[in-house]
Symmetry: C2
Subunit: 317 residues, 2 copies
């Protein structure tokens, strides 16, 4: 019997039906639009109900439901903290989905756990006991598999690598989101480029022509292709920080694989050889020899695969 996977993001909701074997049978995406708080919860519940009905009509009842959330899932009380969804400080998502799921088991986990579980089930981390998914999107976080288990920490908030301290001494810009994330996340790249454009008075490149407020990370990647000096400087800095960050993960965890994913990888895939070269300077040399550095095999679907996997683990079968 099939599995229903839900991947909630900060701006959209993805739903998919998977076979028990992990084949993606059906997928849909819904923009959250201006929804916030309980509106987002109701959207999820309504979408789940609609999908359960549709499957029932096909006489293919859903076996289990898995949900990936963009933040922290508190397993003790079934609530979610999602910083990019207004009003989701302690959102009671488990009860909300259970109210439409009937007897079908519901499992929720953080997106970072789902990413690495997805890659472990059907992506590049298959057969790994120790692998790390480095998700570089709007923010930066890591899903960490160690000794065959997900690293959770004492309060379910392990993997907050956006806060990694890499550039001594401390600068004020690190305060809100951490040193690594402030320069090398989707938001950080645009911020860094805006800062460079306003500092480099002699710079006359294409990023100067944009209004600084609208200068975006895709603009920076586009300008990089045309050898724009500010784009090169901003992304060179990112390559160094990504290299240092994974060097630290390699020295600390001695993993078999580092897997870059999220929206920025994507366009930053081409930097993998340079990131690896940077990491080699810093990491424990024996652990560095044993690790491979790759990009996600599942791309934007990594969270859905992970959600399907946690559903399968918790199914009645």
């Amino acid at each position: 019997m099939p599995l229903l996977a839900i991947d909630l993001g900060g701006t959209k909701l993805a739903l998919a039906v998977f076979s028990q074997q992990g084949d993606l049978l059906y997928k849909e995406k819904i923009n959250l639009g201006k929804r916030k708080g309980a509106e987002v919860g109701r959207l999820i519940a309504a979408s789940v109900a609609a999908n359960l009905n549709e499957q029932r009509n096909k006489e293919e009842e859903i076996e289990a439901i898995g949900v990936s959330v963009p933040g922290i899932y508190h397993r003790d009380n079934g609530t979610v903290w999602a910083p990019n969804i207004e009003g989701w400080e302690h959102y009671p998502l488990l009860n909300e989905i259970r109210s439409v799921a009937g007897n079908i088991p519901v499992t929720i986990d953080s997106d970072r756990a789902c990413y690495i579980l997805g890659e472990w089930w059907k992506g590049v981390a298959q057969n790994c006991s120790d692998a790390i998914f480095v998700a570089v999107g709007t923010g930066i976080g890591a899903g960490i598999l160690t000794g065959g288990r997900i690293l959770r920490g004492a309060n379910d908030i392990a993997g907050a690598i956006g806060w990694m301290a890499l550039e001594h001494p401390f600068q004020h810009q690190y305060k809100d989101c951490g040193c690594l994330e402030s320069s090398a996340s989707g938001e950080g790249i645009a911020k860094m480029a805006r800062k460079l454009v306003s500092e480099r008075k002699n710079y006359r490149g294409s990023l100067r022509t944009k209004s600084l407020d609208t200068l975006s990370t895709p603009d920076v990647f586009k300008a990089y292709e045309k050898k724009d000096a500010v784009a090169e400087e901003a992304l060179h800095h990112c390559v160094e920080l990504w290299g240092m960050a994974i060097a630290n993960l390699i020295s600390v965890f001695n993993p078999q694989k580092i897997i870059f994913g999220g929206g920025v990888f994507g366009p930053a895939k081409k930097f993998i050889p340079r990131i690896k070269k940077e990491a080699m300077k810093w990491a424990q040399p024996v652990s560095m020899q044993y690790v491979t550095i790759e990009t996600s095999a599942l791309g934007a679907d990594a969270g859905l695969y992970g959600a399907a996997y946690i559903a399968k683990q918790n199914s009645n079968m």
Copy 2:
């Protein structure tokens, strides 16, 4: 029946007899002197044999033997890599000890694993599921407990935090032992002070009067007490690096405790409040709230307690 614990260091060997309940009944220390390679192995085997006999004579047969080694223990083949003992690249320590142990079970683990297991059994990490022992001695390494288990990595070399990248851009001095260790280990502090003395041409403090070759880390701590400028600069830099390093561990692992130990903590104990203040600037703020930062309760005996614990775990009882 009692447990025999052995803690091998780079310069000395400690042996202790523990009760099953974890009371330290007897302890001795032997300097390795100029011993290397198989001479060190023979010293351990002879000391084990002597202790087993002595206990037998008291009709208190040893139940199990645990050994802490200063490097990496390869569980698959019973060999040890210990960088500070000449000729110990693949030293067959398990067989050597078994040859004198008869039917008594022998367990070996790395010193960093033993440190955190010792603290977990009888020190400040009791009742913790997630705690990290940061050992700052000649080098720097971490014993990491996560979800109630020791973090080992894919090749048993996790926890190499001396290699943590904290100061961008890369400097040549990081090449041999890593960024953190090059400045903030027992060896690193002396090296840093020597560098500062030779750079600061106007410096006329007490460290100038020493021959640079013999300037040691204890000299730096002594000079610090007299407000020596070079000692203050070197140790202030250490405080910043220790703070950044534990901030990274806190953001990545979300632990309940960080425990500083090793020879340097010792004299660096007084810096814990300043290290914590530095960490607070960098770490994921929620994880920072949940963690406590302490020094080892077991001090130089942490490795012995850990060795006794792994013996107990592997006893026939």
